[in-house]
Amino acid sequence: MSVTVNIVRAGVFLDSVVLMQISRELTAIQGVEDAALMMATPANWDILSDAGLLDEDTMAGPGDLLVAVRAQDQAIADSTLQRAAELMERPAQQNNTSQELRPLTLRSACRQLPDANLALISVPGDFAGAEARKALRAGLNVMIFSDNVSLAEEISLKREARDLGLIVMGPDCGTAIIDGVPLAFANVVPRGDIAIVGASGTGIQEVSCLIARAGEGISHAIGVGGRDLTEAVGAISTLTVLDWLERDVATHHIVLIAKPPAPSVVDQITDFIRSSSKSYTVCLVGSDDLALPDNAKLTTTLKDAAAAAVKNSKGLEALPVVQQAPAAGSYVRGLYSGGTLAAEAQVVFLSHRQPVLSNVPVPGAGLFTSERANHIMIDLGDDRFTRGRPHPMIDPAVRDEPICAALSDPDVGAVLLDVVIGFGAHPDPAGHLAGLLDRHGRSGSVVIASVTGTDEDPQVRAKQVSVLERAGVVVAPSNADAAELALAGLKIG
């Protein structure tokens, strides 16, 4: 036999939505058949009556709050009324600060920030072009972080940008530091008078960090995308940046990092440099076959590019001695998160006349397919590996399996790794790597790495280095040095 209990709170007003919320909570209590809190207006009186919630003796007027419970027994009814009183007196929850009203589209972002002049686009590649086009038409420069954007789309966007007096950085542009503001993957480097223009992100990061370590700084670092210097794209963004830097009073020297450009764009670049009032370092990773004017110096590694750009390169010289010779295998396996770092390692090997294979071969290197008895440099950040998966700089676990395979490979004498830190990168890549090596156990092969970053980065380069060293990793001062050390180790072995 169920009991119906009514309580009248005379002269109490609560909003009907609040009352319905409390009613819902009470109805969910075990043993409660129905419950309602309502202002006792005639209309509500009818509803309560129809629901069988009225005690026939109850007296209330439209200004009174009626609490009505029908429960299995008196005890449940009483405790439910008690709960109703608690819920009515509960203070409002302070949750207003937790929800930030972030814009969901470029359109509303522009309304919130009308002075913005750059959009960073990081959506799946199939949609990046459409978003970039919207940004350009809204008068914004564009940095396309996304990869897997088609060549045709890139050309179309860059042409539209050029016509609008804007720039498209990327696609697959991971790094930029504009007027001291880091975007995407970038390191905390001092401001200075050296500008870096590069096809790739990690190349810019390595050079900017080496410049910082030599005690100098960066005016701007701008990524233009890996295909900008191809004949198809025609260096549209590179030429735009060079033109801007020519007029930038903060920039005195410009480092241009690129794969060997298409012959058709070489003339455009060299003509520009020849007529420029500034000095240049052109780092063609993998080629020394380029005639440059007197105000430009050609280098083939990132380390040499940094050394050529700074006034005093003494800080970049020191090389540690190899602590540990590889025991068994005679080949080096490089597993890179940065494509340009993988290319630089190939250049170092080729300069010592060591044949090398890669999934992203520089001129003179072979294309890696499946032949394992070779020096092999793999770029794990290549589009083929990152479609639908995180980049190894964000999630170092992507590299775990290939590292373990290399460590277990009897042909491998040394494993070469890059560890890239800074904004956007994993919070502790060295710690992750140390954990992996610890779990895998010691093997015959030596692990050699370099840390691209600075002590001012959130991960702190010195700390990352010491974590790696404690894990038995040989840490070289630069990526090029790491490759040199691997070769030196082989010679000792």
């Binding site: 909003d15 939505v17 609040v18 319905m20 919320q21 009613s23 819902r24 129905d34 419950a35 309602a36 309502m38 207006t41 005639p42 209309a43 009818d46 509803i47 309560l48 129809d50 629901a51 069988g52 919630l53 439209p62 009505a68 929850q93 949750n95 207003n96 600060t97 937790s98 929800q99 009203l101 814009p103 969901l104 589209t105 359109r107 509303s108």
Partner: protein, 423 residues
């Protein structure tokens, strides 16, 4: 071959024009007049209903209940059973309110003898109509149809309607633009919550009504009826919305939504660039809170022409002005309500200059829904709504929030693309 480069500016111009007409709308409540005097097509046995076109066999429970009730009310059938038989035999001629400058809440039935509120848009010169709100609980708009429901309709027809008409004629009409602006600052969003606007209206109307009604007890009854009905203003807001949106129709190439409405079975939208064509999809179920004795199992799917208020930027779009309403689906915090309005800003082209939200630093409500933005962002309009019982004859069981189905917007966009020669 279509010049797609020229299309974007053309659509932008068309939408600017649409938005300008929308924002200039100057609705004034001027009269209450029997439907047959306003809509010549509204003969005996003709029933206008909410939503896109629908026939008896596809009508939901509450709409069938209301059809039976209104047939008895109009004297076409002796009782509800006979009315149902007549309906199934095709004795009634069904048309959407929207085809006759009218709107109606929930089932939204409009028939010849019912008095209709008349709102004139003085900027464009057109008029729109809506029935008088019947109050809460068991009412015809929620599918109620018993004698008490019909008696109230008769009283509205015979007493309240004519009195309101006289009072409005006497006072020269009530401008709604400023009234709604004040209501927004007082916590109304004009769909789920009309308590402030209902009170403001009653305050403006009471002197004229006192002059128009000679008998004190009649006057007292009318004032009590309006004063006890927090939703009295809803039907006026709806006629206002219709009067504002109708002149926005038929602007070539415009992607602005001119109507959103539901008949309890289908949700339909119209867009300016495609005139009077309906784009429909199945209605969704509202999420919300229920009256004692009822639960979600009793609920009918979404219904009514009242989404015209969202179409002009009120209701769910103005949720930030009425945080309590956000409590129907969440905790009802100010931040939640602001979040809903912020999402609606992603799919609208402009903001109303006078209808502002205090807690958002007097930013205007988002208005002018662009189907391109809906499809692009995946954000559909949020709609505040009452919930009817799914069986005929029972009435309202709760209130809540519902989403417009994306398929309507996709269909409309495809159709417009075809019209403009984009395949």
């Amino acid at each position: 071959m279509v010049d797609t480069a020229a299309l974007a500016p053309a659509i932008r111009r068309a939408n600017s024009k649409a938005l300008e007409i929308l924002l200039q709308g100057d609705p004034v409540l001027i009269d209450v007049v029997p439907a047959k005097d306003l809509i010549p097509e509204l003969k005996e046995h003709t029933i206008l209903h909410a939503g896109p076109p629908i026939e008896w066999d596809r009508m939901c429970g509450p709409m069938r209940g209301a059809v039976a009730g209104v047939a008895v009310f109009e004297g076409w059938a002796r009782d509800l059973d006979e009315a149902g038989v007549q309906a199934s035999k095709g004795c009634f001629d069904f048309h959407p309110n929207h085809h006759f400058s009218a709107v109606g809440p929930m089932t939204g039935l409009t028939t010849c003898s019912q008095p209709l509120l008349v709102v004139e848009n003085r900027a464009a010169g057109n008029r729109a109509y809506c029935t008088v709100n019947e109050g809460l609980g068991k009412v015809m708009r929620f599918g109620g149809n018993d004698e008490s429901v019909r008696d109230r309709l008769a009283w509205i027809r015979d007493s309240l309607g004519p009195a309101l008409g006289s009072a409005l004629q006497c006072c020269g009409g009530i401008p709604l633009r400023p009234l709604v602006a004040r209501g927004l600052t007082m916590g109304d969003e004009m769909h789920q919550r009309n308590v402030a606007c209902s009170s403001l209206l009653l305050r403006e109307l009471a002197p004229a009504l006192a002059s128009a009604v000679a008998d004190h007890s009649d006057l007292s009854e009318m004032l009590a009826f309006m004063g006890s009905n927090d939703q009295f203003f809803l039907n006026i807001a709806m006629a206002m919305g219709k009067s504002i949106m109708d002149p926005v129709r038929n602007i070539e190439q415009s992607t602005v939504v001119t109507a959103m409405t539901r008949n309890g079975t289908d949700f339909g939208i119209r867009i300016s660039g495609l005139g009077d064509e309906w784009f429909t999809a199945p209605v969704e179920m509202p999420a919300g809170l229920y009256f004692p004795g009822f639960s979600a199992a009793d609920a009918n799917p979404d219904m009514g022409d009242s989404t015209i208020v969202e179409t002009i930027g009120l209701g769910g779009f103005a949720m930030a002005a009425a945080p309590a309403v956000a409590g129907f689906v969440g905790a009802g915090s100010v931040a939640e309500a602001a979040g809903i309005t912020a999402r609606m800003r992603e799919i609208t082209l402009g903001e109303h200059p006078e209808w502002t939200i205090v807690s958002e630093n007097y930013q205007g409500v988002p208005t002018g829904i662009d189907i391109r933005l809906v499809v692009e962002t995946g954000i559909v309009p949020t709609i505040n709504t009452g919930i009817a019982h799914r069986e005929p004859g029972i009435g309202q069981v709760g209130a809540g929030v519902v989403k417009a189905p994306m398929a309507c917007f996709e269909k409309a966009l495809r159709a417009l693309g075809e019209r403009l020669g984009i395949s």
